[in-house]
């Protein structure tokens, strides 16, 4: 009864084309944003912020990146980890070369480097599709991996061969490095993720988003209405890699604190791809759901089992968690092969007509 659009008349096309045309959705979004920006930092413990919320947002951002490419444009990619790495290393090079440059600017700029690299590795997509493209992007993953290990210049010739995140401050508050509090890190990440999600949503609802989806759904017809395939595909690679790059930079600078190249391996690519598939291909909110399920659920289970007070060895807890998560993923895919965002949509539709079935 609460969730109704009855009586909300649109008087202009602009109102009808708004991203959230239903008033209740807008109220809901406002509540979520207020809770995220004010409620969570006040209420949540340091542990929850640092171990749950921060990674969750970062994974969601990477998933949005891959979703733009795979979900919206229909180009399968296994290079996500590599592109995240490019972002992280670019950010490291930037912030060590220009120590006075604002760290947020560094992070956002490092995405540009990733996006250029992504566009280059997107070139094969002009000729090949589907699984073959996945294999071609796999080569990007391995090549970039190799670069991260073999080119010491990327880590400023550190003996450890790893990125060692320096201390950077924002308005006098430490944002990166060992002194940065989880609250500050969480808020910085949340601001960046919110902003970039808004940008992505704008892009995908307009002309560019329509041409992405046109290429995904029927590339012959897309070409016929005047969409240049190569431009559109490369743009999709560039935008997607930008998001992955920023996520990679955030991951190292605001979560890990230091990172070896192994972090950006093929595992990471697969993890993000699973998030996108479970969440929903072609849905921004699905990227958040996917990240929450794949990353958040194991943590919840692990701590949930501990909280029950059962005397289970840590190794058993780990096995149980893996088994449960695996089972749940299979279950979700059986219930709704189109992902969690689809379930969410169906739920909203049901709520709209409730209590009547039609």
């Amino acid at each position: 009864m609460l969730y109704r659009e009855a009586g909300q008349f649109k008087e202009s096309y602009a109102a009808d084309m708004a991203i959230f045309p239903i008033r209740q959705d807008r109220i809901g979004l406002a509540i979520i944003l207020v809770a995220a920006f004010v409620g969570v930092p006040l209420a949540a413990s340091d542990f929850v912020l640092a171990v749950v919320m921060v990674p969750l947002l970062i994974f969601a951002l990477a998933a949005i990146g891959l979703n733009i490419l795979t979900g919206y444009t229909g180009l399968l990619s296994l290079g996500t980890g590599g592109f995240m790495g490019v972002g992280a290393f670019a950010c490291y090079k930037l912030t060590t070369a220009f120590p006075d440059l604002n760290i947020v600017v560094c992070i956002l700029t490092s995405g540009v480097v990733a996006s250029a690299v992504g566009a280059v590795f997107g070139l094969p997509s002009l000729r090949i599709k589907g699984f073959y493209l996945a294999v071609a992007t796999l080569s990007a993953q391995f090549f970039l991996d190799w670069c991260f290990v073999r080119i010491p210049w990327l880590v400023n010739h550190n003996v450890s061969g790893a990125i060692e995140v320096p201390i950077r401050t924002l308005f006098g508050v430490a944002v990166t490095g060992p002194n940065a509090s989880p609250q500050v890190r969480y808020l910085v990440i949340l601001a960046i993720v919110t902003f970039l999600t808004w940008i992505a949503s704008n892009l995908l609802h307009g002309r560019v988003g329509r041409s992405f989806m046109a290429v995904r759904d029927m590339d012959i017809a897309a070409e016929l209405i005047g969409i240049k395939l190569y431009q559109t595909k490369l743009l999709a690679f560039a935008v997607s890699s930008y998001y992955c790059g920023v996520a990679g930079a955030l991951m190292v600078f605001l979560w890990y604190g230091s990172a070896e190249p192994a972090v950006f391996g093929i595992d990471q690519s697969f993890l993000i791809l699973f998030m996108v598939i479970i969440g929903c291909l072609g849905s921004l909110v699905g990227s958040f759901f996917g990240a929450a399920l794949i990353y958040g659920l194991p943590i919840a289970l692990r701590n949930g089992l501990g909280a029950l007070g059962l005397q289970i060895p840590a190794a058993t807890v780990e096995h149980l968690t893996l088994m449960t998560v695996g089972g749940l993923i299979v279950l979700f895919l059986i219930i709704e092969p189109h992902g969690l965002a689809r379930l969410w949509q169906i739920g909203k539709q049901k709520l709209r007509v409730w209590p009547f079935p039609y």
């Binding site: 096309y13 609802h205 041409s211 995904r216 029927m218 070409e223 016929l224 005047g226 969409i227």
Partner: protein
């Protein structure tokens, strides 16, 4: 029967001259020439495998002819890509519907206006100010097309869920959104019932009258072809066997043979 439109005698919009196309040893088209005048409805008919769809594919640049020339609006381009054809004002619908299945009917038709939208990438990121103004302006045009095709009730439905007849109509809408000068319709009435065929015929005649769009039409329903078209080209095995008004073509012995068969 419909009286030939007055504009039918207009200047030549598209000229196909001695076009041949072969795939390996298979000759799809051999030495075909015909023209389409501005404002006319030109039917292309022929038995299955006669090369009708190949002809359309050559016209909008999916295939490049081995020999021969295509002149559109007075300019000849040796190798025209499909998106260049679109830019030049050629729109097309497909025999088996080629809509963007994941998108709504409205988005499909909006996508048809991609070429008319010019706000750059960075405005698109904001979706406010000029970018939004442009969206609204084009939405208004798209709503006109939606009204014209009487599909207002399904504008927010993903096209994958629409029945076949309506999908064909949305596809026509997407082509119309490009404001084409030449519209290529590949069997717009295939698989439709009588009522849907009548609706579609009405839309084709109306858009030809109202917007002056020249139309090349492939169709198997002879009743429709004879009623709608100003002139007819008949192809058989990649050769042109007849060209003229519906009445001339109907009486042509070669056409009768092609359709009814000849005693051997």
């Amino acid at each position: 029967m419909r009286a030939p439109s007055e504009t039918a005698a207009g200047e030549t919009l598209l000229a196909v001259e001695a076009v041949s196309l072969s795939f390996g040893g298979v000759k799809a088209l051999t030495d075909v020439s015909f023209d389409i005048r501005r404002g006319e409805i030109r039917a292309i008919i022929g038995p299955n495998g006669a090369g009708k769809t190949s002809m359309l594919n050559v016209v909008n640049g999916f295939y490049h002819p081995n020999t021969g020339r295509i002149t559109f609006k007075g300019t000849t381009r040796p190798k025209m890509r499909p998106h260049e054809a679109a830019r030049g004002g050629i729109a097309r619908t497909f025999q088996n519907v080629a809509l963007f299945r994941g998108m709504t009917a409205l988005d499909n038709i909006m996508a048809g206006r991609t070429l008319k939208m010019h706000r750059g990438f960075f405005w698109q990121l904001l979706r406010h100010g000029p970018a939004m103004a442009e969206e609204v302006e084009h939405r208004r045009k798209v709503e006109d097309i939606i009204d014209f095709l009487e599909i207002a009730h399904i504008r927010k439905v993903p096209v994958g869920r629409l029945p076949y007849g309506l999908q064909k109509r949305v596809e026509l809408g997407r082509a119309l959104a490009m404001e084409p000068e030449l519209l290529l319709l590949d069997e717009p009435m295939a698989g439709m019932n009588l009522e849907e065929k009548e609706d579609m015929s009405r839309f084709i005649v109306d858009l030809n009258d109202q917007f002056g769009t020249s139309i090349a039409l492939i169709e198997h329903d002879m009743g429709v072809v004879m009623d709608l078209s100003d002139r007819v080209v008949v192809l058989e095995y990649g050769h042109k066997i007849a060209d003229g008004t519906p009445d001339e073509v109907k009486g042509d012995q070669k056409v009768i043979d092609a359709y009814l068969g000849v005693a051997h």
